[in-house]
Symmetry: C2
């Protein structure tokens, strides 16, 4: 049943070494023999045993990526890019969903951490960052983390400048003539949420303005909906709102429309992330795009450099997000009246 390299050698009338050579594309094999081997491989339906190869080579050829949940189109894009880039470098990608609901410390380790199944790991937006890092350090597994929480950590990271994102989003609103601008943030527990908010406040301050309203809420549609509904009920309606993410933005839009306000005619709404949803919903969301592809690229580059022991200049990257203007933001009504 199980056919191995010896079977192929016998069948092709050559030695295992030669077979191994054609397996590894060694140029030093007579074309005629190469064909014989290939032929035998095909006939026998032979597949090299990866465990044996890994054992002797000392490396697995696979890079792991841990992620906490699917259902995020930005992550999806990152993962796809990582997958492609890795393939180009001759590596395979293995993804592991780390159940964040797992009983605390119990088993922080995904299968990737166990033993030495991967040559390196990309940690994507971890919840328990410290734990992961500690474990990886101990085990001596090369890694890089994308979107980390602890800004002080001196580890290889790929991040996006959330401060700038918040700042730019607000500036966009400002440029449209808005002055009564509110912000619905995601959990301030997240560094990203805090940074976006900071950018928001500073952008306003730079114009001598202060926030019309700020709600420290949660990421998600319902959250945005509730906040906006409450504001409407209390008669406090801004002319523009900067939402902590696209889901919040969607909720805000829903609440606004339910309350009889039109977006963007009556109030403008800008999201964050540029999830797939953002360009499908009506009105299509103006938002701050995460440079997902770039994040994936850089992560792979940094990780591979570390693995190969390449001279590493820099292992901390801070990428910049991009403003995507669509339909949910427009000139401030008050402004329009003046014209």
């Amino acid at each position: 049943m199980k056919v191995n390299i010896f079977d192929v050698a016998k069948k092709s009338g050559l030695s295992v070494v030669t077979v191994s050579r054609v397996l590894n594309n060694s140029p030093s094999v007579r074309e005629k023999n190469r064909q014989k081997v290939l032929q035998a491989i095909k006939e026998l339906n032979y597949i090299p045993n990866s465990a044996a190869r890994t054992l002797v080579r000392g490396k697995t050829g696979v890079i792991g990526l841990t992620i906490t949940a699917l259902g995020d189109t930005v992550f999806d894009c990152i993962v796809k890019t990582v997958n492609d880039r890795l393939k180009q470098s001759g590596y395979f990608l293995a993804i592991s969903i780390s159940n964040e609901a797992d009983h605390e410390m119990e088993e922080a380790s995904s299968f990737l951490f166990q033993e030495d199944r991967v040559d390196g790991i990309i940690v994507l937006s971890p919840v328990r960052e410290e734990q992961y890092i500690a474990e990886l350090e101990i085990k001596g597994i090369p890694y890089v983390v994308i979107d980390n929480q602890n800004e002080h950590a001196n580890i290889p990271t790929i991040n996006v400048d959330n401060y700038k994102g918040g700042y730019e989003a607000t500036k966009h609103l400002l440029s449209l003539g808005h002055t009564r601008i509110a912000h619905v943030s995601g959990e301030v527990l997240f560094l990203s949420a805090r940074e976006r908010q900071k950018g928001f406040i500073d952008a306003l301050a730079d114009e001598g303005l202060s926030p019309f309203l700020i709600a420290n809420s949660r990421f998600g549609i319902r959250s945005g909906y509730q906040v906006m509904r409450d504001w409407i009920q209390s008669g406090q309606v801004p002319t523009a709102v900067f939402a902590g993410d696209d889901a919040i933005a969607l909720g805000v839009v829903e609440a606004l429309e339910a309350g009889g306000y039109r977006v963007p005619e009556d109030v403008s709404v800008i999201g964050y992330d540029d999830q797939e949803l953002a360009s499908e919903v009506h009105p299509r969301l103006t938002t701050i795009r995460q440079p997902a592809g770039q994040m994936g690229e850089y992560a792979v580059k940094v990780l591979l450099d570390i693995i190969n022991g390449s001279p590493i200049e820099l292992t901390k990257f801070r990428l910049v997000p991009e403003l995507i203007v669509r339909e949910s933001t427009g000139i401030c009504r008050d402004q329009r009246q003046n014209t």
Copy 2:
């Protein structure tokens, strides 16, 4: 740097065999010695080499799962369940995103297929089903496919009864007094879309009714939006619509509200899948829930049975979906007037 079992043996003053025994929880090790070994392992920070173990044992202990894209909360749930169930059985899960945009045949194989890195594979809702299956069969890798496209294929599958889903969704609308019911389907290229539509038509027929309108469209928000908008513009507004999935439903609701219709007061809308979105959007969507958890469970069970050569009674499962009533459907207005 690299510490192996011999180092542990030396440090603990015992043989590699004994070390191996404690590694594998063999009961035949004197408690005192077990402690010594454990101690040495800890001090040396020893991690067993999985390649070596795999090589000698003949099995990897990891199950692969291929998926085409993240961003789907139903898949997310399936994957999480699979992950947990597998862990319970002592297996690890490795996920592989199969780039469907890949140059055709070129490299249909994910890293999971290459060589023999996994003991079995769960194929989740494949696009190029036939190709996958063929490859898996040739390589002799145990597998099971969830949500397959080819209804005739005689392979281990876990499916959901989409016909019943479509039928029940329609019956729900019918029970609310609706008679002018329309359907916006996903790509009829998908077996699931065709089956749902069939259930829709049959449910209507059983009441002596025929579809008010049917649009063979695509899955997605914009698609639902466009179809509904066109219907409204042409003055053909149903009192209820059965959407091929939750995204379509969301688009339909948006178009309806943009057109001045209220959901569910003026027209009822039912979705399909019960994506996370469904319960977050306003109004919260009535929908047909996919039994995601169950799918994961059955898939693992079937696959493990195949791997273990257990006497297998059945390898084809057809699970039943569930109607989740929320806010987007209500009594037909005409009906209400009569009461």
